[in-house]
Amino acid sequence: MATRKRTLLKVIILGDSGVGKTSLMNQFVNKKFSNQYKATIGADFLTKEVQVEDRLVTMQIWDTAGQERFQSLGVAFYRGADCCVLVYDVNLLKSFESLSNWRDEFLVQASPSDPENFPFMVLGNKVDIDGGNSRVVSEKRAKTWCASKGDIPYFETSAKDDLNVDVAFQCIAKNALKNETDEEIYLPDTIDFSSGSTHTSSSCSC
């Protein structure tokens, strides 16, 4: 295997069905929006190279199915995540209220070594709809929630109009990288994905 230094950031997108997870991923990676997306079955991912300060990193963005009843599959997909993006629809209260559940479930299933400091990000999507007149979750309310969960960074986005998508993902990469660097020192590049059980060595940080 090549020994070149390659940083891979695994990012998981979670949130209720239909809030725009696939659209956000596609807008960021492919610069495209379609009205004809299909509901995601299981999970899928896309990759994109991004520049974070002076480093070139590969973001591997995992898009998941939104129906709650698939949560048991989380273990398989969340393993080794460097950042978790929680998405809701600003026009739909329930999708906002679900954020807590998605966050908790992620922490249980992914069981990151330092859950207190694990990087999350919240995106309030679909701000374009009806010129913002149909929104039911205010920016203030969302920010208050984010603050209460350990200052989660928050962005308001429109995957359709490509509003704030790049900025948000850039921030995701930056935060994930902060988390990732610790691990990288201790893990050989080639086993980054091979098996969850090899991660044990990374907890020893001194």
Binding site: G18, Q36, G42, S72, K94
Partner: protein, 484 residues
């Protein structure tokens, strides 16, 4: 024969769509002429005359609707025209009666709309359509939270369907109607249940209502590249059928992926009730895949089977994937969940499905026994003891699909419980084995499997699946033999 894609026209404004590859060939595909010739005067179908064609070349789209009803077991091949007409009539009545029941519970059903917003919210039921009187009393809304947790313990096995493979669709209908008027049977135990009773029914209604918007969210994202779904009434039809199914099968309810399976029925069948019953027969085979608990999704059983099959036919590849941490085969989740709908174009997935169903065809499976008064079939176990098989070896066997015949000939133990779709998935793994052997991570495995999208040939996949199936059965038998 015409353009095979013409019934399933793609919108001109659709973006990237998987291209169709399957080329039905004259002399290979089951034509209308060949199909009609397989019926006798009374309308009994000699299935052996058409299975070979379907297995080798699919079905001409112009007769697909009729053929699928036999392949999926809506009708027995040896039923007559008259019997089928009677059955169809009663089924349609049945369906519209159930639909009316559902309409009473939620006026959105049958209204021509698709619900995408939650019907039950934190402040009680949300009813954007219809009359006030249709709303549920506020008191039961608080049950939502408890309800979802209690679901597994609480649900009585309302359906005997699924326990007995030979259960017939007609019987299933009666099960259904019993369920609609749940808790009103005479026996003591049921009477006790009724006492506890009404709240169970109310819970059921509430549970159902909470899934309605999920169905809608998926319906508006299902096969939207087809011109067919530009018409709102067609979207509404898909929504209605899924809503009604989820009411009738509360153990499964609605689960993402089901809209992918139901959509072709809505496109194919002119009559909504006929589409419903065909979908119901398909779900009869697949519903266990959609059974979700806190621990697992039902399809994982088939994924485990995929692992089992690969372990036998290609231990080297299996070992490699297992060492990468992929022993659960979760990366094949989508393939099995929606029967390759996402790997093939709309048109090609229909060919794939009918070829698979023809290969799996079992004349004793699924269709109504009350029509013919058939004896129950002793299921294939260690020895092929199917009704009449030993006596009429040869000719009779042509009434079974090739895949089933292999099960009968070479199958041991539980071999027959692995459906062909698992072997189709295995064939795709095998076709990519060199790349998969070189994969260093599970993400790469998923990427390789995703890359096959749009590049697969339905007929070839089935042909390979059949070969692997035989290899699996023979190897598994010899391994079993060694163990004894």
């Amino acid at each position: 024969m015409g353009d095979p894609d013409s019934p399933y026209k793609i919108r001109s404004d659709s973006g990237e769509v998987i291209e169709s590859r399957f080329q039905p060939k004259a002399g290979k595909v089951l034509s209308e002429k060949k199909w009609r010739a397989a019926f006798d005067k009374q309308g009994r179908l000699d299935i052996s005359k058409v299975l070979v064609r379907i297995q080798g070349g699919g079905v001409d789209p112009s007769i697909r609707e009729e053929v699928w009803e036999f392949l999926l077991g809506c009708f027995a091949p040896d039923s007559t025209y008259v019997e089928r007409a009677t059955l169809r009539k009663s089924r349609r009545e049945e369906y519209f009666q159930i639909k009316a029941e559902c309409q009473k519970l939620d006026p959105a059903v049958g209204s021509g709309t698709v619900v995408t917003l939650p019907r039950v919210g934190e402040n009680g039921p949300v009813n954007d359509i219809g009359r006030e009187s249709d709303e549920l009393p506020r008191s039961i809304v608080s049950l939502i939270q408890q309800d979802s947790r209690q679901k597994e313990n609480n649900t009585t096995p309302l359906s005997s369907r699924g326990m007995d493979d030979e259960q017939t669709s007609h019987r299933a209908q009666f099960d259904f109607s019993n369920r609609v008027t749940a808790g009103e049977t005479q026996n003591d135990e049921d009477a006790r249940r009724v006492a506890a009773g009404n709240s169970t029914q109310e819970n059921k209604v509430l549970e159902w209502k909470t899934t309605l918007h999920q169905i809608g969210l998926d319906v508006v994202r299902t096969d939207r590249s087809l011109e067919f779904y530009e018409k709102p009434s067609n979207l509404a039809k898909l929504w209605d059928i899924l809503a009604i199914y989820s009411w009738l099968d509360p153990d499964i309810g609605y689960c993402q992926g089901m809209s992918d399976l139901c959509s072709p029925m809505v496109v194919l069948f002119h009559n909504e009730a006929d589409a419903f019953w065909c979908f119901e027969r398909l779900m009869h085979r697949l519903r266990e895949n959609f059974r979700c608990t806190d621990q697992a999704v039902g399809v994982q059983k088939q994924l485990a089977n995929l692992g089992l099959v690969l372990q036998v036919i290609d231990p080297k590849l299996y070992k490699h994937l297992d060492e990468l941490g992929g022993g659960s085969f979760i990366f094949a989740f989508r393939m099995l969940m929606v029967l390759f709908r996402r790997e093939f174009s709309f048109s090609d997935s229909l060919y794939l499905w009918e070829i698979m169903w023809a290969l799996e065809f079992d004349p004793d499976e699924g269709h109504p026994s009350d029509v013919r008064g058939k004896q129950p079939v002793i299921h294939v176990s260690r020895h092929p003891i199917r009704d009449g098989w030993i006596l009429r070896r040869g000719r009779t066997l042509y009434k079974w699909g090739k895949f089933e015949r292999q099960n009968i000939k070479y199958g041991e133990g539980d071999a027959h419980e692995i459906p062909i779709v698992v072997f189709c998935a295995a064939s795709i793994f095998e076709s990519q084995r060199l790349r998969l052997q070189g994969a260093v991570g599970l993400d790469e495995v998923l990427k390789i499997l995703n890359d096959v999208t749009g590049k697969l040939d339905a007929k070839k996949a089935c042909k390979e699946a059949l070969k692997l199936h035989k290899k699996y059965l023979l190897k598994a038998a010899s391994m079993g033999g060694r163990r004894h």
